[in-house]
Amino acid sequence: MPVYFTKEHEWVRVEGDTATVGISDHAQEQLGDIVFAEVPEAGRRVSKGQEAAVVESVKAASDVYAPVSGEVTEGNRAVAADPSLVNSDPEGEGWFFKLKLDNPSELDGLMDEGAYREWIKTL
């Protein structure tokens, strides 16, 4: 399953025409203790670059952007109920939402995992 990353520190894992979206381990580490997460409802349409979810740490509020366009098929109720899941397993159980891809070619502009891990070392 290929995983792509954005410069805004979201990740997208693609299975067929479904994409799962979350924030990277680097992002959760920068945010610190996450105390609130708001995920989109199934059926909502999001376009690439648009705010799709909210994540708040003790210190700050951040938007999670949709890395690709599509229709949300599921928001992760588990992170809404226990936001600390984003700290403990950001790139696994701490995902935010799944969507049905409108246009798989939007993935072309994103970084692959190796490129992302190298890039964050330069930050």
Binding site: E8, G32, D33, V35, F36, E38, V58, K59, S62, Y65
Partner: protein, 376 residues
């Protein structure tokens, strides 16, 4: 993901513990013109540690002043609403530097040391405060900026156990009492006070000795260094205002619910800046008051959010807000029109276009646990 963390390229001054913090894994951020530790292992863990054990805070950015000269006590009364003439020796007092309209220039702690006063002001405002004081105090009163001194705070229910092992005698201090101590040939000024709602101490130490003292404290298994992030969440839970957020030139002591800082004799006599307005606000009511808010749900409502009445009119604003680590829910403080300031009043808060149900509640949110002699 958006990020509010700014990568400031501005030149930052270094405090004496700069390398000490970095060696302990602190994340350093710009604050009051200095690079300062915002967190080590994480704000939540550091906050809870301080409520249960002892947290060591570096607050060396704060301004330590020594004010002396002929009739310094009555001279200070022309700047602040406290009773400096009758101020007891070695007893820190909270006071407010006021402008001519009664607006708050800064809040501070002032301690009489014999004929002189030791004053601690906020870091971001210290240079302005010094200028105000030098301009407004008579020529024979001198304001010395003790810039070689560092300042530590050790806070929490076990702070006394930790510090007593290093500096015997500190356990004898009562709450809001101070005196000098000697540690390894260095003179320390220690007061039993702080900004977390817990028992604890504030320690003025020469900058050259502060790293050794911080090491000695953190060698104790009950003490850990704590960053500014937890300092902010701790003081918010304790209902304590922070200058530049909950207090500023547009707020008076009465609006800020700091009437205790306006001494009884001074109320009768006046003679402090803004006395006319402040005494009128005491008599009648200020237009707005600082209050605490309890918020439904889990999402933090932060500084800048609007306070709305039932009809949706703007009636105030949030000046500090966040997620309470101790209570595991959002809390906030802010200003609201006085007729809506009583406990239990339900109001709406608006943040980024979203409405939150909130209630005015008494502060502190987490009870103070200051040391009381004979108690415990």
């Amino acid at each position: 993901m958006s990020s509010e963390v700014s990568d400031s390229a501005q030149e930052l001054d270094k405090l004496p513990l700069d390398a000490w913090h970095r060696a302990r894994g602190a994340r350093m951020v710009p604050f009051a013109g200095y690079a300062m530790p915002v967190q080590y292992e994480g704000i939540m863990a550091e906050h809870l540690w301080t409520r249960e054990n002892a947290g060591l805070f570096d607050v060396s950015h704060m301004g330590q002043l020594f004010i002396h000269g002929r009739n310094v006590d009555s001279a200070l009364e022309a700047l602040m609403p406290g009773d400096f003439q009758a101020a007891a020796d070695m007893k820190p007092k909270y006071s407010l530097l006021l402008d001519d309209d009664g607006g708050i220039i800064d809040d501070l702690m002032a301690t009489r040391r014999g004929d002189d006063f030791y004053v601690v002001v906020n870091g971001a405002t210290k240079h302005g405060d010094i200028e105000v004081m030098r301009n407004r105090l008579p020529a024979e009163v001198v304001v010395d900026y003790m810039k070689e001194q560092a300042l530590l705070a050790l806070q929490g229910p076990r702070a006394v156990d930790v510090l007593e092992t290093i500096i015997p005698g500190v356990a004898e201090l009562g709450f809001m009492q101070a005196r000098s101590f000697n540690w390894q040939g260095h003179s320390l000024w220690i007061s039993r006070s702080g900004y977390t709602g817990e028992d604890g101490f504030e320690i003025s130490v020469p900058g050259l000795a502060v790293a050794a003292l911080a090491d000695a404290i953190c060698e104790h298994e009950l003490a850990k260094p704590i960053g500014l992030g937890a300092r902010d969440s701790l003081r918010l839970e304790a209902g304590l205002p922070l200058y530049g957020h909950d207090l500023d030139l547009d707020t008076t002591p009465v609006m800020a619910d700091l009437n205790f800082a306006i001494n009884k004799r001074r109320r009768a006599e006046g003679g402090f800046p803004g006395a006319l307005r402040i005494l009128a606000e005491l008599q009648n009511e200020p237009p707005q008051k600082r209050v605490g808010f309890e918020i439904d749900g889990r999402q933090p409502v932060r500084e800048g959010a609007l306070v709305l009445d039932a009809e949706g009119n703007e009636v105030g604003k949030i000046t500090s807000g966040g997620f309470s680590p101790s209570l595991q829910r959002p809390i906030a403080m802010g200003y609201v029109a006085s007729h809506l300031a009583s406990d239990g009043t339900t109001l709406k808060l608006e943040q980024r276009g979203k409405l939150f149900d909130a209630r005015v509640v008494p502060m502190p949110f987490v009870p103070h646990r200051y040391y009381r002699k004979g108690a415990a």
